[in-house]
């Protein structure tokens, strides 16, 4: 009973002492949060540097024949496709010789010579051969552009198969000419839609924004976690303030290390909570989120942080060692928990142990508290 009383009195004394640290805690946590958030923001912006694919230049020659209008229409469609824009630059040449010159000079990688009556040939299944000349077919660029053109050819082949099959079937079953014509148009349009109108059947999403929290939200939560850990730099004298004289006195009252640890642990919780609240308010305003329940749901995370800080401060003999140990431990926890690099980017060995380290749990809990689940 005496033990509990002394521990309780120790706790009360600690709470009274805490009053003197309030301003220091708030100022330091805001400074730390600013530094860590800025670092997190910079990392999130630089982590996925915008890349550019190697553009392959392709020259083509179109003959001046009756199909010129259709050929140009087809080319316009191909040029407008995202895949083409991403990988290839199409250059039209006026004469066949001009294309050869460009190829020889190395200004283009491919040279496509479209034969006469190409479009009509596709429609009547004579399929005139395209002549494709290349300068180098060993580079990754030529492989990528080759794959792209093969895909386009496959679209065309599928549409052709559809039209031919429809014509054969309808003719086989003696459909009227008008029905056959309608069906041909219908099949053409349907295949054109399914192959070229991909945007209707696909959405693009930024993976960095996907998941429970966006990349920047995770970095902000990690910054807050690190800042809360580093608040211990300010309160370390408060945690280690029970000097030898007081300890001896406490021992005579049957109060051991464990009771001091409990009193420190419990009094560290309000200190961390006091540090959390202004950060919560600032981040909520910046991110335009409001999750009042977060002020309660964050408590388990604060308990864990408080426990870690107190274990370190109990083990380490002096303030300097405690501070440096907390610095190292926090950075390790943040790294393994995906607070410095996204967890998916960590080596598989580290990912394996991450479930045993509280980093990811702390970041997720803090993020849920601020941004909502």
């Amino acid at each position: 009973m005496n033990n509990i009383k002394t521990t309780f009195r120790l706790l009360l004394t600690n709470m009274k002492r805490l009053k003197h640290y309030i301003l220091q805690i708030i100022i330091s946590v805001m400074v730390l949060l600013s530094i860590c958030s800025l670092a997190g923001y910079c990392i999130s912006k630089k982590l996925y540097e915008e890349g550019t694919a190697a553009i392959v230049k392709v020259a083509y020659y179109l003959p001046e024949d009756e199909d010129e209008k259709f050929n140009n229409f087809g080319l316009r469609i191909i040029k407008e496709l995202d895949g083409t824009k991403e990988v290839a630059e199409l250059i039209e040449v006026e004469t066949i010789e001009e294309g050869y010159e460009l190829l020889e000079k190395g200004e283009v990688l491919y040279y496509i010579i479209v034969p006469e009556m190409f479009f009509s040939g596709i429609m009547d299944s004579t399929n005139p051969e395209l002549t494709v000349l290349f300068r180098d077919n060993t580079g990754i660029g030529s492989y990528i552009s080759n794959e792209l053109f093969l895909s386009y050819a496959r679209y065309l082949g599928m549409a052709q198969s559809g039209v031919y099959s429809a014509l054969d079937t309808l003719r086989q079953y003696d459909y009227p000419a008008s029905d056959i014509s309608d069906a041909q148009g219908n099949v053409n349009m349907t295949f054109l839609d399914r192959s070229l109108n991909k945007d209707s059947y696909m959405e693009k999403a930024d993976a960095t924004e996907a998941g429970s929290f966006t990349l920047i939200q995770r970095y902000l939560a990690a910054a807050l976690m690190i800042s809360l850990f580093f608040v211990s730099f300010v309160i370390m004298p408060y945690l280690q303030g029970i000097n030898k004289g007081i300890r001896t006195k406490l021992y005579t009252l049957s109060t051991g290390h464990f009771h001091i640890f409990i009193a420190n642990f419990l009094s560290c919780i309000p200190a961390l909570y006091m540090a959390f609240v202004p950060c919560y308010v600032v981040l909520s305003i910046i991110c335009k989120t409001f999750n009042p329940l977060g002020l309660i749901t964050v408590l388990p995370a604060i308990l864990v942080i408080s426990l870690i800080i107190n274990i370190i401060s109990s083990i380490c003999q002096n303030e300097f060692t405690s501070n440096m140990t907390i610095l190292a431990v926090t950075l390790i926890i943040a790294y393994i928990g995906g607070g410095i690099l996204p967890q998916a980017m960590l080596p598989s060995g580290i990912q394996g142990i991450s479930s045993y380290i509280p980093g990811n749990y702390l970041i997720t809990t803090i993020a849920s508290a601020i941004f909502g689940a």
């Binding site: 730390l32 530094i35 910079c42 996925y48 890349g51 550019t52 694919a53 995202d82 895949g83 991403e86 299944s125 399929n127 395209l130 494709v132 492989y143 990528i144 080759n146 794959e147 792209l148 093969l150 895909s151 386009y152 679209y155 052709q160 198969s161 559809g162 031919y164 099959s165 429809a166 079937t169 309808l170 079953y173 069906a183 219908n186 099949v187 349907t190 295949f191 399914r194 192959s195 991909k198 209707s200 059947y201 696909m202 693009k204 999403a205 930024d206 993976a207 996907a210 998941g211 580093f230 730099f233 300010v234 303030e319 060692t321 501070n323 440096m324 907390i326 610095l327 996204p342 967890q343």
Partner: protein, 313 residues
């Protein structure tokens, strides 16, 4: 002679500190690990992850199509949407596709109720080109059904589909032969796993320098140097900082030479000099060990952020 004696004493003192021994050992272990680790193969394999929410004949046929067309891209299935997002975020794949349940049925009928979701990052450069390969295969596996949908002739669906299969595999339709048959290798170079020994050396140099100052301040507060003049006190301070900085600089210097030759050696010397001067200047402001104790973690944190962020940027 006095200076030499002081150097000797201070060197012995710093090298007996557990923290300092750990720092030196850390650098040596890091360098040894780097040297012992095998070089990894650099791969130009372009991976694309796919998560099919619906397992149907269409999805199976789609993978068969990838094999048939011998695609450049390595399409591989993942087990969940979260795994898909993870692999895209990690940069292990160029992009990822989430194919929801009922996608194929809706695609055939031209409905966009359940679109495919393509996950990429700003670092993805080929997602649109990869998309064409994916859709060309989806179109291929769905084409018989698309045809029967486009033509209102239910009674002849079987015949239509048979004809379609026949044409797809015939020489009568337009095809393009693969042109890229050169000897491009997807496994080109080798590289060593990157261990930031240079950055860690800088951080340890900064820390060691401040540790030297801290030891000096603690000694001064204990009254060890009471008998010394102001000038001698200043000399002691310099010796204390220098002796704390020098061993870590030597070890860091050697480790960096082992790893990257002389490329970082000059900058490491320069940074050490700057750190030494900066510590002396800061000693004019920080006069108590308790103050330095509070500032030290913050300085270290800022150093770590600036150095690693500088490398990243």
């Amino acid at each position: 002679m006095i200076t030499l004696n002081r150097l000797n004493v201070f060197f012995k003192r710093i090298l007996y500190r557990k923290t300092y021994i750990c720092m030196l050992a850390f650098l040596i272990i890091l360098t040894t690990t780097y040297k012992l680790l095998p070089a990894k193969k650099q791969t130009a394999d372009i991976k694309v992850a796919i998560y099919n929410e619906e397992i149907s004949q269409y999805s199976e046929d789609m993978y068969t199509c990838f094999d048939e067309i011998n695609t450049l891209y390595n399409f591989y299935p993942v087990d969940s949407k979260n795994e898909l997002i993870d692999v895209v975020q990690s940069g292990k794949v160029e992009c990822g596709f989430f194919i929801p349940a009922d996608f194929y049925i809706n695609y055939i009928s031209g409905s966009n109720d359940t679109p495919i979701v393509m996950y990429n990052t700003p670092a993805s450069t080929l997602s649109s080109a990869i998309c064409e390969t994916l859709f060309s295969c989806i179109l291929k596996v769905c084409s018989p059904d698309i045809l029967t949908y486009a033509i209102d002739a239910t009674a002849h669906n079987q015949y239509l589909m048979e004809k379609m299969e026949e044409y797809i595999n015939s020489d009568e339709i337009f095809t393009l032969e693969s042109l890229a048959d050169g000897e491009f290798s997807f496994h080109e170079e080798t590289y060593h796993i990157n261990i930031p020994v240079y950055e860690i050396s800088i951080i340890l140099i900064i820390f060691a320098s401040l540790l030297g100052l801290l030891i000096y301040l603690q000694d001064k507060e204990k009254g060890i140097f009471t008998a010394l003049s102001r000038k001698e006190l200043h000399a002691i301070k310099l010796v204390s900082i220098f002796t704390a900085l020098f061993p870590i600089l030597v070890v860091g210097f050697v480790c960096n030479i082992i790893i990257s030759g002389l490329s970082h050696s000059f900058s490491l010397l320069l940074i050490s000099l700057v750190t030494f001067i900066a510590t002396i200047i800061s000693s004019l402001i920080i006069r108590k060990s308790t103050h330095l104790n509070k500032v030290l973690p913050l300085v270290m944190l800022i150093s770590i952020i600036v150095i690693f962020l500088g490398t990243l940027i």
